[in-house]
């Protein structure tokens, strides 16, 4: 059975533009914390889930659940069809040419590990280099370090500017004859910097270096088209994209995936098994050993439908305006310093407050029902670059409104007064 390569048809964007109706679809945002309405400003860590995603998980288990790609009976075939349809939805969402280029993994981190182990490791030799940037999440540093360590290769970090942007000339200078991989975040999970991935991909292609884009903070905030972008690999996490936790996506160019050996062995990834030897299944199944998070994958498809109906161009305008407003409001608070000043910022904004440790800020805001992230946000090298060990970070999602920003601003003003 070979399903067609075409993606699932796109849902039509809803006609009305009203972010409050977006917000109304998230049941958890009507809950209270410490007796105060929840102000959720940690979407960069994980987004909350709309009712329809929660309902889809439940209805899938109630009506459609069986293991996939195994049973001849109707229920298994229905579950398989829904799972395969979700893959087609991801294909459409990313603009991939072929559904075979979509590999389901647990999260963006696992996608990067898969590329590090299956694509890069076999061709890595002593002295080879993997180029990343100072602003990467640990997930886009550590997997490369592990395979580099095994092979006597090394991870090189391109510097970022005080504004929190990649220095493109410095990045280009660090591409050498030994560079085997370039791995860059599309949007920084701390600074919110939108990196010029089109230019970065063009640079990598000119130099003949394979390029992976960590889109964990990008695909839920702006439209994406991997075929137009021309990257070799791209990863994102379902749980940051209004979908369930435990499911993520690796996009890989078909010809590259096709040439890659399996990473993990097990069921569903084989063609024929005997003790004399085993041959492996085609892509993407070769990389999907064992029973996946079937319900999670189906619900991720629902989440992507949700995002496409909102229309990502509209989502981007709404969130960018909110973030710009937050930046203006926070910058006026005495003692507050915003990290970086990139030309374009999406998703997140990090800051410090004179005299107050980020952890103190987080714990005091929590009392007011305000959820932000504090710490190093899995980006210790980036914090070191700014001479810090920790920062506070607010981040936005489709449901964020001005009242959330006002609550944060008021809370931070009170804390600033306490610590001065």
């Amino acid at each position: 059975m070979s399903p067609p390569a075409a993606p699932a048809p796109a849902p039509a964007p809803a006609a009305a533009f009203d972010p409050e109706t977006w917000r109304a679809q998230f049941p958890i945002l009507r809950t209270e914390m410490h007796g105060r309405p929840l102000v959720y400003l940690d979407s960069a860590a994980s987004t909350q889930k709309p009712r329809r995603v929660i309902d889809r998980l439940k209805s899938f288990y109630e009506r459609d659940y069986a293991n996939i790609h195994r049973g001849v009976y109707e229920l298994s075939q229905r579950a398989s069809a829904l799972h395969d349809e979700a893959r087609r939805k991801v294909q459409r969402f990313l603009g991939a040419r072929d559904w075979r280029e979509i590999v389901f993994v647990r999260n963006a981190t696992e996608g990067i590990n898969l590329v590090a182990w299956s694509f890069l490791r076999p061709k890595l030799e002593p002295g080879d280099e993997i180029l990343v940037t100072e602003m990467e999440h640990h997930a886009n540093i550590v997997p490369w370090q592990i395979v580099a360590g095994e092979r006597g290769a090394r991870v090189v970090a391109a510097p970022i500017t005080d504004a929190g942007e990649i220095d493109l000339d410095a990045l280009a200078e660090r591409i050498t004859g030994r560079t085997r991989m370039l791995a860059v975040a599309w949007v920084s999970n701390v600074l919110g910097t939108v990196n010029p991935v089109e230019e970065i991909v063009a640079l990598a292609r000119r130099e003949g270096v394979p390029v992976l884009i960590d889109a964990a903070q990008a695909v839920q905030h702006r439209p994406v088209d991997v075929a137009a972008l021309g990257c070799d690999f791209l990863v994102f996490s379902g749980h940051k994209t209004y979908g369930p936790s435990g499911v993520g996506v690796l996009y890989g160019r078909g010809e590259l995936l096709d040439a890659m050996p399996p990473w993990q062995g097990g069921g569903d990834m084989i063609e024929k098994v005997s003790f004399a030897g085993t041959s492996f299944n085609e892509i993407p199944f070769r990389f999907e050993a064992g029973t996946p998070d079937i319900a999670g994958i189906v619900a991720l498809g629902e989440a992507l439908d949700f995002l496409e109906e909102l229309d990502l161009a509209r989502v981007e305008r709404h969130e960018a305006a909110l973030l710009a407003g937050a930046e203006r409001a926070l910058a006026r608070i005495p003692g507050l310093r915003i990290l970086g000043a990139p030309k374009e910022r999406r998703s997140a904004l990090a800051f410090t407050l004179e005299g107050a440790h980020p952890q103190d800020i987080g714990m005091l805001l929590d009392l007011e029902g305000i959820a932000i992230r504090t710490g190093h946000h899995c980006a210790m090298p980036l914090h070191a670059r700014f001479g810090l060990s920790a920062s506070a970070r607010m981040s936005v999602g489709v449901y964020t409104n001005e009242a959330d920003i006002d609550a944060l601003t008021a809370g931070l003003r009170r804390i600033a007064a306490m610590f001065q």
């Binding site: 410490h34 440790h357 980020p358 952890q359 103190d360 009392l367 504090t374 190093h376 306490m418 610590f419």
Partner: protein
């Protein structure tokens, strides 16, 4: 602070102090007050070796054992003030105590004053690791003391 107070008495005092507070806000404000009053650790003690593992804030712990009085003394510090407040409470409980007393006393008083969730394992702060290190050191000295007493 009255050093004659035993570890059980000190627990009671902490419970009484926190019984006065109506909500988490008042408790945190009190911790901030305690944190501000805690003497800072000298810069030379804020070393990697004295650091206990934590993700968000940094915690340093210095221990001294007085063989004459058989008491284990701790000093500690953090870069976050609420954590410093918790450290102040932990030191009242565990510092200047006999090793066997420390070993025998779990930090359950923190559960009872509603701060247990601040001391859970994981990435939040170094306090869980700090308690772990205090207990480890106490166990080592308790064994050494038991050995010495048996030998004499």
């Amino acid at each position: 602070m009255d050093r004659a107070a035993g570890i059980a008495e000190e627990q009671e005092r902490i419970l009484e102090e926190f019984a006065l507070f109506e909500d988490s806000r008042e408790k945190l404000e009190y911790l901030i007050e305690l944190g501000r009053e805690l003497p800072s650790l000298e810069e030379r003690h804020r070393t990697e070796g004295n650091k206990v593992r934590g993700c968000q804030s940094q915690v340093w712990l210095v221990a001294e054992y007085d063989e004459g009085s058989r008491r284990l003394r701790f000093r500690a510090d953090s870069d976050a003030v609420i954590v410093r407040g918790l450290i102040a409470l932990l030191l009242r409980l565990y510092s200047d105590r006999r090793p066997e007393e420390i070993v025998a006393t779990p930090p359950e008083v923190f559960e009872r004053i509603g701060l247990g969730r601040l001391l859970t394992p994981g990435r939040q702060n170094g306090l869980y690791s700090m308690i772990g290190r205090i207990k480890e050191l106490a166990a080592v000295y308790a064994r050494l003391d038991a050995g010495r007493i048996a030998a004499s």
